[in-house]
């Protein structure tokens, strides 16, 4: 009896820590699908080479499957890819394969690496590497390589909405190597800023940090919000 209990305990712990990549993705999707819609207050902080912008407050609206809207009084900068793309990509079952990448500890959290590779040709995402918190079944980090927007790294920190896989803080690290200033637009009559030309050796990575508070989940959101123009 004692041996059977021991065997069961070892099996269970093994199976917990050694879930397959597909199983993990399924667990993540299940969590994602719990959220039909949400709205959340966001504070968006961008630190991107060549762009100077102060933090902006905004409200983010999301509705399944892919309705997404940022409403801000000011101008808010977000990464082109990465906010809802991972979840909508994972939701399309059968369009990708997931590959187990092993266990790691990331920021003190035990995580399972899953690499997701699309199997359809027209997918914008070329490769997604996910770090999944095996305890909470949420993604804590993503490395996203896209066809059109370069690579984006996304770090997630969760709080009280972890049950819905909704983070309190997301940090996007974007590739800025393609940024070039259009001369004709910026050219002054007399450029008085000769010494301020961008330094080519400067960091090529930019970060956008979004702090999210006051989630309202599954309370219903009118479609009108998503139709409104800025």
């Amino acid at each position: 009896m004692k041996n059977i209990f021991l065997t069961l305990t070892i099996f269970c712990s093994f199976s917990l820590s050694c879930q397959t990549a597909d199983e993990l993705v399924s667990l993540i999707i299940r969590k994602i699908e719990l959220v039909k819609d949400y709205s959340v207050s966001a504070n968006i902080k961008a630190d991107i080479p060549l762009i100077k912008v102060l933090p902006v407050n905004a409200t983010i609206y999301f509705k399944q499957k892919d309705k997404f809207k940022v409403v801000s009084k000011g101008i808010a900068i977000l990464p082109k890819q990465g906010f809802t793309d991972v979840s909508s990509f994972l939701s399309k079952k059968g369009t990708y394969v997931s590959v187990d990448g092993g266990l790691v500890v990331l920021n003190g959290i035990k995580a399972h690496i899953v690499t997701v590779i699309p199997t359809v040709e027209n997918s914008d995402i070329v490769l997604a590497k996910l770090w999944v918190d095996i305890k909470q079944n949420v993604i804590i980090k993503t490395d996203l390589t896209t066809r059109g927007s370069g690579s984006v790294t996304i770090d997630y920190i969760y709080g009280y909405q972890v049950g819905y896989a909704l983070p309190d803080k997301i940090t996007f690290t974007v590739d800025v190597k393609k940024f070039k200033m259009p001369k004709s637009v910026s050219a002054d009559i007399n450029n008085t800023e000769k010494n301020k030309k961008p330094d080519p050796n400067k960091s090529k990575k930019g970060t956008i940090t979004i702090s999210l508070t006051n989630y309202t989940v599954n309370k219903g959101i009118s479609d009108e919000i998503f139709k409104k123009k800025d």
């Binding site: 991107i48 900068i77 009559i189």
Partner: protein, 280 residues
């Protein structure tokens, strides 16, 4: 006597049809820009943000009144000097061409006062033109396109200024832009003191502006030492208020150079006009 003749100068400027050309052209130019922005402003914006758009998305009312006011200022800074010179270049030489300079100079008012009153009148006309520009750019444009944060594309990159942080910048930039236009006014009045017809000073003023602008934009070391003393180099200093952080040292340097230009040009005009034999 200075005030009385300044009042006379205002009457003349108000009565002259050419004084309204500037205001009319300015209004027309702005209306054209507004029409273009209303019709196809998004393509202009995507041109500004093109290099970031692959990676980033800009959310919010980007094409707002604040940005369009900036675009208008940027586009028109080349043209407004011509509109200023059209009136101010005529202030002394126009009187010589018309023959009224004889009448003026035989009155018990000193020649210095005649020139100074013309400078004051020219400065007020330039101010009216600047205020009209500010009114159209800030009030009318904001009424049409709304307000909001402002994207400014400088050679050092994009700066996004928050809505509440913009109005004072426009206030200051209009003051510096006015000072630059006042220098154009002073230059054309100064040239006007040397001429007997209005076309000469107007064309010469634009010629000098074009020449100095070309010298200022040529990346040739031989001109480096004089570039910072050319008033045209400082005509775009109003833009500096839309930098972050603002380089106050550069702005003050521009203000000082423009003020010195004005004093010199007024001085030259006064000396020339006092020594001038009126033979027309």
């Amino acid at each position: 006597m200075l005030l009385k003749n300044t009042y006379n100068e205002f009457i003349k400027i108000i009565a002259k049809p050419r004084s309204y050309i500037g205001l009319g052209v300015l209004t027309a130019l702005i209306l054209v820009i507004l029409f273009a922005m209303k019709a196809d402003g998004s393509s202009y914006i995507s041109f500004v943000t093109a290099s970031f758009e692959q990676t980033l998305s800009f959310n919010g009312n980007i094409l707002n009144g604040n940005l369009i006011a900036f675009i208008i200022l940027q586009m028109l800074i080349v043209h407004i000097p011509l509109l200023v010179a059209l009136v101010t270049g005529d202030l002394i030489s126009g009187e010589a061409a018309m023959g009224t300079i004889r009448m003026l100079a035989t009155k018990p008012i000193s020649r210095t006062n005649i020139v100074l009153s013309k400078f004051i009148a020219g400065a007020v006309y330039t101010l009216i033109l600047t205020i009209w520009l500010a009114f159209l750019a800030l009030v009318v444009v904001k009424w049409m396109f709304g307000s909001g944060d402002m994207i400014v594309l400088n050679s050092s990159g994009l700066v996004i200024l928050q809505e509440g942080d913009i109005f004072w910048r426009y206030g200051c930039s209009f003051i510096v832009a006015y000072l630059a236009l006042l220098t154009v006014s002073s230059l054309s009045i100064c040239l006007s003191a040397f001429a007997e017809n209005s076309i000469g000073p107007i064309v010469s003023t634009m010629g000098i502006i074009i020449l100095f602008t070309i010298i200022g934009s040529l990346d040739v070391t031989v001109f480096d030492s004089i570039k910072k003393f050319l008033f045209t180099t400082h005509m775009a200093s109003w833009r500096s208020f839309f930098e972050d952080p603002i380089n106050l040292k550069d702005i003050w340097q521009s203000i000082i150079i423009l003020v010195v230009h004005n004093i010199l040009l007024v001085g030259i005009a006064v000396i020339k006009f006092n020594k001038k034999d009126i033979t027309s």
